[in-house]
């Protein structure tokens, strides 16, 4: 058993020990990877050294860690965690293990908007334009997917998926069209963004994204329990007093915002959103908030490690993290699949 009940005035929870322990382990991994990321780079800084440097509050080490590495590590964690949580929510809501932020056309919409901005305004207008364009594109596509899937005031997961895939393809076609018809240098500059990276992240980026994500989570975390109910029959969920259409809309909204923000700063590395939730499902077998937390930790770990690999293994090259997200994640995932078949 080992379950724990917490009851304070007005607050009560049942904490199942095992899932939370597993989620805690994945969080711990996440922290370890973050520390290693801070230590590694063009200059190797042993933990003792950079801790000492941090304490001093000045000097070269302090500068490297706080100004260069920390923002990048934090941004990577934020992007990975947000995409993973978005994917986890969408897999619950759409009742399909293949669902990811791509499924509703989120990455497609963001990519189309960003490439259009790069093509038309050639990247002018300040640092804030690109993220705003990405979020606007993503939300526009999701909103139209939802509106198109609406019938008699309801949407079904099945129609959402099909229309989302269609709209995603449409956005993808627009991107390709712009890349091919557009100026020659557009393709290479857009391509790096499309692959997804956390290049040149500064403190403002990390803080802005963190703040916005926290704002979304403020609404999103209380909705997690509705995500748990989403795989239930509509009739059964309605029977226990859940307004199914409203909770579905709210969850899709939260998932879209999370993914839209992550894509705006980290580019379209949607693979995290597909497979981090899967790893979490296999790791924390029982559905619940612990599983969602594990997904976040795994997503963050993967993007941080991908960025770490991208900026250290191929020195002096600094390769976009999006490339290594799959390179880090996929073998792990495949190994898990193989091991699981052997044991079952």
């Amino acid at each position: 058993m080992g379950d724990m009940t917490i009851r304070l005035a007005g607050y009560s929870r049942r904490i199942a020990w095992r899932p939370w322990r597993l989620a805690g382990l994945s969080l711990l991994t996440c922290v370890v990877i973050a520390l290693v990321s801070l230590a590694c780079g063009r200059v190797w800084l042993p933990p003792g050294e950079w801790l000492a440097g941090l304490k001093r509050g000045e000097g070269a080490i302090w500068l490297i860690v706080t100004q260069l590495r920390l923002p990048r590590v934090v941004l990577a964690a934020e992007v990975g965690g947000a995409l993973a949580l978005s994917g986890w929510i969408l897999q619950q809501v759409l009742r399909n293990p293949l669902a990811s932020p791509d499924t509703l056309g989120l990455s497609g919409g963001a990519s189309a908007a960003v490439v259009a901005y790069l093509a038309l305004a050639a990247g002018q207008g300040g640092a804030w334009v690109r993220p705003v364009a990405a979020i606007a594109g993503a939300l526009l596509v999701v909103a139209s997917v939802y509106a198109l899937a609406l019938r008699g005031g309801r949407v079904t997961p099945y129609r959402l998926i099909l229309i989302g895939v269609g709209m995603g393809a449409l956005a993808g076609a627009v991107v390709t069209l712009m890349l091919i018809v557009g100026r020659a240098e557009l393709a290479s500059s857009a391509y790096v963004w499309l692959v997804g990276s956390v290049y040149g992240a500064n403190r403002a980026d990390a803080v802005t994204l963190g703040g916005l994500l926290a704002l979304v989570l403020l609404f999103g975390v209380p909705l997690i329990r509705y995500a748990l109910l989403a795989p239930l029959d509509d009739a059964l969920a309605a029977g226990i007093g859940v307004s199914v259409p409203a909770s579905r809309l709210a969850l899709i909204g939260v998932a879209s915002l999370l993914a839209g923000l992550a894509i705006a700063w980290g580019g379209a590395m949607a693979f995290v959103g597909l497979f981090a939730p899967h790893l979490a499902r296999r790791w924390v077998a029982v559905s619940g908030s612990a599983q969602a937390l594990a997904a976040v930790a795994i997503g963050a770990s993967v993007v941080m490690s991908a960025d770490l690999v991208g900026r250290t293994l191929f020195l002096p090259l600094d390769l976009p993290a999006g490339i290594f997200v799959a390179a880090v994640g996929a073998p792990f995932f495949i190994g898990l699949l193989i091991r699981e078949t052997r044991t079952s």
């Binding site: 293990p97 293949l98 390709t176 693979f271 490339i323 390179a327 193989i338 079952s344």
Partner: protein, 328 residues
Amino acid sequence: MTTKAFGLLLAVICSALVSLAAGGHWLGPEAIWHALVMPEADNIDDLLIRGTRASRTLIALVAGASLAVAGGLIQTVTGNPLASPGILGINAGALLALVAGAGLLSLPLAGSGYVAALLGAGLTCGLVWLIAMQGAGRAGPLRLVLAGAALAALFNAISQALLVVDQQGLDAILVWMAGSVAGHSLTGVWPMLVGAVVVMALGVPFLRHLNVLSAGEQTARTVGARVRGLQAIALLATALLAGNAVAMAGSIAFVGLIVPHLARRLLGSDHRCWLPGAAALGAMLLLWGDIVARLVIAPREVPVGVAMTLIGVPFFIGLIRMTGRPHG
């Protein structure tokens, strides 16, 4: 049913004729007749048709039909409406082979591209199957799909890494990724055409078994179907058809995703009806995509994958909105 079949066949033939006629320089029916039946070596119209338009028409026909059928098969096997031939890693494998061939071995994309892409697609597919089959053939459809998705992501990542490091081939590869049916000689089309026709013809006797398979694994077993064997055959056919098409026409697996849905909604759920119907619809979609692709910004061309998507998606969404679905 027969009227629908005839209608589809007629529509495909008409589309093919339009495809022969359309372009920067429009050709009339006499010119087409002339070129097909009694070509002359020094007639410019004949050269135009036999040199470029006939081959791209044929490629569009075969690739569209192959990908649509492949998509239908994979959706039936996995029971997942999101599945497409891309999920088996076919596109990713072909892309990696092309990128690696062009980047590392400096192979020309035009000449050896078909073979390299076919090889890449086939090897990846086999690898996906191997991973999914680990452990006494317990490959459930979901495991297959997940293995495919993971491997596809991995291979795409490697391709991307190669492309980011060496951006020289990027333009040519981008064109391939967007899909293109142009630039092949008529003789170069034959291997692909024969391959697709043979696979489809061999598959016809299995169509009725697919109906059983789509009723769910357990039901299929209880009526005596050999589920694993059927799944393996369907996957093999998917890999061959899609690999063949992708190697020739580029990364346009999207046909395989939406056309099966269109066909099922138009023709019902009997595989003997809708799968051939999907072949016809897929061929038509790609043909019209190609026709539009060469007309809209002539004399330049839009990638066929783009044109096809722009045409296909509104249809697709309209159809989904119009027809309900009893469960979902």
